[in-house]
């Protein structure tokens, strides 16, 4: 695999800050960039503004200061399905079946159910839920709901996949399985992924690069490249290399936490 640094950034944040109307400064002077086909994690404690940064990249929030610069000059268009977003909760429509939920992005783009059906089935097959197309969300387990949520984000084949602590509410066994599945999905689809997490272990396992952020107001503390080759499997999770990387990232996170209160 070619070195990530050889590619130009698909998106760069320059001194991006966000202050909410209630006076809370969630993000200050955040500067980092993400290159095409990278898997980047934003790692930090809760309330460090990493979700805010993700929402700014998604275009759901406007930054109060700084610039978001896209390689193509314009931001990817959500209405054309160029961005996939996975929330912390599965965020499914309880009144719609699994297929109906996965259909949503295409439906909003004006593609009816019949025409969308092959793509819906393809997305469900990728997350291993093709047998549950007719089920309703409340009939599914937490992990399965999250898979539906991922299938919905992937159904438009987005260039950019944004994930906001998607597995934080799941048990560890389910989370490990979804980590593996996410990696193999990413390996086969190769979209650029930005993954927000507060788990050191998850970030090391998944990412090609980790951006460590300080507590509120969040800013970038350091960047750590995880140079372990993909595909990564369970054997990577138990390797000394993984343990060493986790220690390094943990130390960076501790150092970032110590900067609390520094303006």
């Amino acid at each position: 695999m070619e070195a990530a640094s050889a590619r130009s950034p698909i998106v760069s944040l320059h001194g991006v800050g966000k202050t909410f109307p209630n006076g809370v400064t969630a993000l200050r002077d955040a500067t980092f960039s993400v290159r095409e086909h990278e898997f980047v994690s934003l790692l930090g404690p809760s309330g460090c503004g990493k979700s805010t940064a993700l929402r700014i990249i998604a275009g759901l929030l406007d930054p109060s200061s700084g610039d978001v610069i896209w390689r193509d000059g314009t931001a990817p268009d959500g209405s054309k399905g160029e961005i996939g977003f996975v929330f912390q909760e599965p965020t499914l429509m309880p009144w719609a079946s699994v297929a109906g939920n996965v259909h949503l992005p295409l439906k909003l783009a004006g593609i009816d159910r019949t025409a969308a059906m092959p793509r819906i089935h393809e997305a469900l097959r990728r997350v291993g839920l093709e047998a549950f197309a007719g089920a309703y969300p409340r009939e599914l387990s937490g992990g399965m709901k999250m898979r539906v949520s991922i299938a919905r984000a992937l159904v438009t084949q987005p260039k950019l996949l944004l994930m906001d602590e998607p597995f934080a509410a799941l048990d560890e066994i389910t989370r490990f399985r979804l980590n593996n599945d996410l990696l193999s999905l990413w390996a086969s689809m190769r979209q650029t992924a930005i993954f927000v997490t507060h788990s050191v272990f998850e970030s090391v396992y998944l990412s090609s690069r980790i951006i460590v952020m300080t507590p509120r107001p969040g800013r970038v503390h350091s960047e750590i490249v995880v140079d372990a080759p993909y595909p990564r499997t369970e054997s990577f999770r138990t390797s000394p290399e993984y343990a060493a990387l986790c220690r390094k990232v943990s130390e960076a996170l501790v150092a970032a936490m110590a900067r609390e209160g520094v303006p």
Binding site: G78, I83, F85, T91, W95
Partner: protein, 275 residues
């Protein structure tokens, strides 16, 4: 070893079964006792029918006057269902208008509340002056019934999952798409809850208006029959009409509950059965 938990599970199942049977039987048992006591009171005190008719006499009157009472019931029920339909359509439409425009909401919501808190008995005589009687009765029933639909639907439209709303925004959904595919389905359980309340209220509204219109004479609904029988001291017929009204109210409530259950059973917690 496995016998113990099995018997315990059986025990629990047996207990819930017994409880379910009791829940089904007890109301009828209480009713039977009530009727028995009623009958005894009439017999022992030898009460004349114009003071308190015996249950048997009420039942015989119901059968004897069935043609008359049935025709009246149809009149009252027609008013009730028309009012309920208009209340649902009007309440939902108004809630959507409120949801789409703050300006409209701030301008008209207070008046919706005023209409609701002013007793309909007090409005009915005025409406009877300005409107033809049938229309006035319908308007009264509508006034009482539309508010729960409006209030509940407004609540439902405002209770949309924030993340889902963001998702719709991300995918560039139009206002119409957000309404049709997100807000209305999310509000559906609330709407149906409002409809259930409105069902009973529209019957009450229709009855109140018929009573108020009673002296005007042209009406022939069940409430009018009750008022008329009252003037003639035909107490058994009053009871028979009252019985029909109660049964009609219960049937309306049960029917709307069933509709709500059928619509929501696949996805909403309120409609999930225990077994």
């Amino acid at each position: 070893m496995t016998a113990r938990p099995a018997t315990r599970a059986e025990e629990v199942r047996e207990r819930t079964r017994r409880e379910r049977i009791l829940r089904a039987i007890l109301p009828f048992a209480a009713l039977a006792i009530g009727i028995l006591v009623w009958d005894l009171v009439v017999r022992i005190n030898d009460l004349p029918p114009y003071v308190l008719p015996s249950p048997g006499l009420v039942f015989r009157t119901l059968i004897a006057d069935w043609g008359l009472l049935w025709a009246s019931l149809v009149v009252t029920l027609t008013t009730t269902f028309e009012a309920l339909l208009l209340a649902f359509v009007g309440g939902v439409a108004l809630a959507i208008a409120f949801n789409r425009s703050r300006l409209v909401e701030y301008s008209f919501y207070p008046y919706a509340v005023i209409l609701q808190v002013t007793p309909v008995v007090a409005i009915a005589p005025l409406l009877l002056i300005y409107l033809p009687q049938q229309a006035a009765v319908l308007a009264c029933a509508w006034i009482v019934a539309f508010f729960p639909v409006l209030a509940n639907t407004t609540l439902g439209l405002n209770s949309v999952d924030r993340n889902l709303a963001e998702l719709f925004r991300l995918y560039g959904a139009s206002g119409w798409q957000v309404l049709r595919d997100l807000k209305l389905p999310a509000a559906l359980p609330y709407m149906l809850g409002g409809l259930k309340i409105a069902g009973g209220l529209s019957l009450i509204g229709a009855v109140v208006a018929e009573i108020a219109a009673g002296s005007a004479g042209a009406g022939s609904g069940l409430a009018f029959r009750i008022a008329e029988s009252g003037y003639r001291l035909n107490i058994p017929r009053m009871f028979a009409a009252l019985l029909l009204l109660s049964v009609a109210g219960v049937v309306i409530f049960a029917a709307l509950s069933l509709v709500s259950h059928l619509i929501l059973r696949r996805w909403h917690e309120s409609a999930s059965g225990e077994g």
